[in-house]
Amino acid sequence: MADTLFLILSVLTVATALLVVLNKNAVNAAMFLLLSLVGLAGLFVLLDAPLLAFVLILVYAGAVVALFLFIIMLLDTTPGSFKAFTPLTIAAALTGAAVLGLGIWSLVNRAALPLAPGSVPVPALKQYAEQLFTTYLLPVQVVGFMLLVAMLGVIVLSRKHDATEDAP
């Protein structure tokens, strides 16, 4: 059953991601991103990390994508178009594909990947908290500070300039 679930969820994630890229309308792209997030959350659940799945939906889908939607609708842009397929783009595409294939191949063939999952209990919030507040205490503090800075930055950046505006 896990396998079927995996198949469905992964197809969902990848297909909607593809649609994000391919859709001309920005709002549609945001919606498809949302669906992709749902699929990803499901994959997290499959990986025995339900807490993370919840957090993903809460933060990403609830806050980030919502923010995206606000901004898209605020800016009232015209429907976009695709960049023309110049030779450079094709070359870049091939390079990207090559990189991808290279990465996967090297990973699969050379890395000693643990294939069988052990019977690990599903981690609860308590274990996450333990880790966060002992081993990863410093990153937590730093991230808190960074959030403060981000807040300040956003406030400063979104101020309206009453004085003379620079010409574009």
Binding site: V55, I71, T77, Y128
Partner: protein, 109 residues
């Protein structure tokens, strides 16, 4: 909750990693191909998501918690980054009245 992968699965770690890589590649091509800055930004987020998937997969299959904890950080940073980035884009829109990347090229030599 029931550990869903307690039984030996057909789709192991390589598959998850493959999905992650695929997501990453799609996000990357989105950055390359789209002209709307906001959509480019969304594809950036896709790439981040791909990396979180890889992290959680590794964390699960190695039996440790480090990868999952790291995902917390990634989520936080992604949120902050989106906030700041969108603020920049809005400010830029106020100046240039466009979000098309091709028209935002004043930094050329």
């Amino acid at each position: 909750m029931i550990p869903l992968l307690a039984t030996a699965p057909v789709y192991g770690l390589p598959s998850y990693l493959f999905v992650s890589a695929l997501l990453f590649a799609i996000g990357f091509f989105g950055v390359l191909l789209r002209k709307n800055t906001l959509v480019i930004y969304m594809c950036l987020e896709l790439m981040l998501l791909a990396s979180t998937l890889a992290l959680v997969a590794f964390s699960r299959f190695n039996g440790t918690l480090d990868g999952s904890v790291f995902v917390f950080f990634i989520l936080t940073i992604a949120a902050a980054e989106v906030a700041v980035g969108l603020a920049i884009i809005v400010a830029l829109f106020r100046q240039r009245h466009t979000v098309s990347v091709e028209e935002l090229n004043q930094l050329k030599h």
